[in-house]
Symmetry: C2
Subunit: 437 residues, 2 copies
Amino acid sequence: MTTESHGNRLDPHLARYAQRTHSMTASEIRSLFAVASRPEVVSLAGGMPNIAALSMDVVSRSVTEMLAKRGQVALQYGSGNGDPRLREQICDIVALQGITTHPDDVVVTVGSQMALDLVTRIFCDPGDVIVAEAPSYVGALGVFRAYQVGVEHVAMDEHGLEPTALRERLETLAAQGRTPKFVYTIPTFHNPAGLSQPQQRRAEILQICQSAGVLVIEDDPYGLLGFEGSIPEAIRAHDSDGVIYLGSFSKTFAAGLRVGWAVAPHGVREKLTLAAEAAVLCPPAYSQLTISTYLETQPWMDQVKTFREVYRERRDAALESLAQFMPAGTTWTRPDGGFYVWVTLPDGIDATSMLPRAVTARVAYVPGTAFYIDGQGRQNLRISYCFPTPDAIREGVRRLGGVLEEELELLNTFGTTAGPAGSAPTDQAAAPGPQTL
Amino acid sequence: MTTESHGNRLDPHLARYAQRTHSMTASEIRSLFAVASRPEVVSLAGGMPNIAALSMDVVSRSVTEMLAKRGQVALQYGSGNGDPRLREQICDIVALQGITTHPDDVVVTVGSQMALDLVTRIFCDPGDVIVAEAPSYVGALGVFRAYQVGVEHVAMDEHGLEPTALRERLETLAAQGRTPKFVYTIPTFHNPAGLSQPQQRRAEILQICQSAGVLVIEDDPYGLLGFEGSIPEAIRAHDSDGVIYLGSFSKTFAAGLRVGWAVAPHGVREKLTLAAEAAVLCPPAYSQLTISTYLETQPWMDQVKTFREVYRERRDAALESLAQFMPAGTTWTRPDGGFYVWVTLPDGIDATSMLPRAVTARVAYVPGTAFYIDGQGRQNLRISYCFPTPDAIREGVRRLGGVLEEELELLNTFGTTAGPAGSAPTDQAAAPGPQTL
C-alpha cells in the first residue's frame, strides 16, 4: 500500500492539493529500509559519506575560530547567492577541474539538491521534457517528477552517456517539435552506474548539445573523489554559456552542513538567485562560514586524499567480494571513483521483488528501478560501498550472493522466483529518501 | 530599468525559461539598498535580528558540546522532516502558545521561508488564489508570485485582519466559483503592520475560515517576542486540522542557522516532507543539532527575555522619535512586540518616489508598495527598529522627518513632490531580499 492510496482514504485535504503534489509519493521500499537500518543488516543501500574519516577536532576548531572571527555574520541573514568569500573559494576548487569562473557566477545552495531544484524551477514548465542518462540519480528524477517534467532516458555504454543515442533522441524530439530544456548528466563517477565519461566522450556530448541548442546540466558531487590520481576535467571547462555545473561539499567535507553550489551563466545565475530567495531567503551562513574557515585554515586537500583512500579500500572490498560471491551470469561496473557499483543480475532475476528476501537475509541494496522513470532496471541493483567497513561490505556481498543462489535455484526448479510479481514493491522515481541518495 | 528588461536584451537563455520565471524579478529598490548599506546611512529597512544580544561564547560552547556528543549525526544526511529530538523540543516551544502537537506532525525547514514555499508548492497550481492581509509579508508575496498564485488582499483594522471584509471576500470568491487554497495571516506582531489580533478576533477569523472550508496558514516568527509579558495564544491552538502553523528560530536564536518549522495535519506533513526531500533532501543537521543542544543546555528562555528587552527599548526609541519628528498628518502603529512600525504619510506624499531622497538624506526604509501585490501602499512605509541602536533609530527618524518636511514644502509650493511619478521605483511583490525581510 502506498502513502498515496493511504492518503486517498484518510487525508481530508486531498482535494486541496496542487496537481504536482499527486505525483509526490513515498517509496514503498522505504518501509523496507526502516527494517534495513537495524544493526544486524549490512546496508549497501545508502549513499552516506564516511564522516568518521573526518577529524571532529578539526571541525570543532574550525567552527570555534569562525565564531570568534565572523560570528556576527554567521548567525545573521546573508546574501541569497551565498557568502562572497566562500564563492571565491569555490572558484578555486572548481579550477581543479579546469573551470574558469567568477564568484559572481557562483550561487551557493542548500546542498546541490537545491541547485537541481532551482534549475528545474526556473527552466521547466509542467509538460516540458528533459533528457537524462539511464539509469540516473534518484534525487534528480524526484525533482523532475515534482515539477511535472517528462524524462527521456538515453542509454549508457561502458563510457557513460552514449553519443549516438543522444543525437538520435534529440533529433526524434526535434522532429516532434519538442526541444528538451536540458540534458542532465553525471559525467564523473556516476550515481548509480559507477562509470565515467572519458574526455573524448565529454567533448562529443557537449558538441551534440551545442549543435542542438540544448543546455547541459553537469552534476558533479564526486569529481574530486577519484582513485587514479588525476582529476577529470569538467564539461563546464569547455563551455561557460551552455553548461550549468553543480557541485557540493557533502562528499569532500560533510553532508550535514548542506552546502552545494551552481556555476551558471550570467543571466541564469540571476534567476537562480531570485528563485533561491523565494525558496529559503538565503543559504545558512553558519554552515557556509564554517566551511570557508575550514578551507582557509586546514589542509583540506589532504582530507580529500584521506576520503579517496577510505573509498578506494571499500571499492576494492566490493569488487573482490563480488568476484568471489556472485553467481555466474552476474556482471558489474568497476568504478574509478565515487561511491557505487552497478550490478546486472542473471536473466530471470528481479532485484525489486528480491529485496524483501535480501533484507530477511540481512543485506540491503537499492533496486535498479529506483533509477529510471519508466520501470526499467528490474534486473539491476546498486551497491554503495561508501559507508560500511570493508569487512561489512564483504559480508554483505556474501549474503547477497547467497540470496541470489537461492533465487536461481527457485528459477531453475519452478521457472520463476518466489515473489509474486503483482505485489512486488516498486520505486520508480519516488521522492528521494536519505537511504537512496 | 529592471533586471527583466536587462535580461531581455542580454540573456541568451531567455526563451528557455519556465513561465513562472518571468514573474521573478529583482526589485528596483535593491540598488538603492546597496547604497543604503553604507555606514553613514541609518537603515530602518532591514528586518535583521539583533544578534549582538546573543552571547557568542554560549553559541560556541553549544556547538563544541554538540560536536563532541553528536558530531557523527550533525555532519551526516538526516531525515527529510528534521531531527527527532529537535522536533520534540519544538513541540515544547509551541506549547507556550497553547499548541498541542506531536513531533511526527512537525516538519523542520530551512527557515520558515522554506515552509511557506513548501506549503504553496503542495497546495497551489498556477492560477489558484489565496487570501492575505493587506499589507502582507514581502517574502510570502514573493513565494505566491513565484508559484503564479493570485493574491486577494483583505484589509486590516487596528486589530489586524478584518473579519467582515474576510467573510465578504470569501463569499465573493465563492460566488465566482473560486475557493482560495488558504488564508495567509500573521496574527501576532505583524510584519509589516506592527499589529496583533486579539483573541476574540482570532476566534472570529478561524470560525469564518472553518465555515468556508478554507485552510489557515498561521505565520508566527515573532510570537515569543512580545513586550507585555503574556504570550499570545496561536490560532493553531484551537484547530489542529484546519491550521498549518509556521515557526522559526531566526528571531529567538539566530537567523544564520536557517531553521524554521511547520506544524501540519497528518496528511499534509507527509506531503510537506516529500516536497522537502525533493527540494533539499534534508534540512542541515549541523544547524538543527546546534540549536537542539543550545535549547537543552542553556537557559534559552532567558535569552528570549533579553531579546524582548532589546527590542522593547528600540520600539520605545522609534515611537518617541516618531512623535517628536513626524509632521502633522502622519500616523503610525504602536507594536506590542516584534520588529516593525507601519507609518501612514500625509496626503500627497509618496513613500516610494521619496525613497531616493531619503537615502540621500542618509536614512532608509521599505516603501509600503513592497507589501502589496497590487500597487497599494504608496502612502505608507515600514520602519524596522530591530537592528540599529536606540540613538541611531532616533537619528534616522529625525532625518526622515526632515525629508518629509521638505516633501510637504514642495507639495505646498508646487502641488506635487519632486519625483516624476513615471520613473519612481516600484517593488510590488518582487523577490524578497535580505533588506526587506
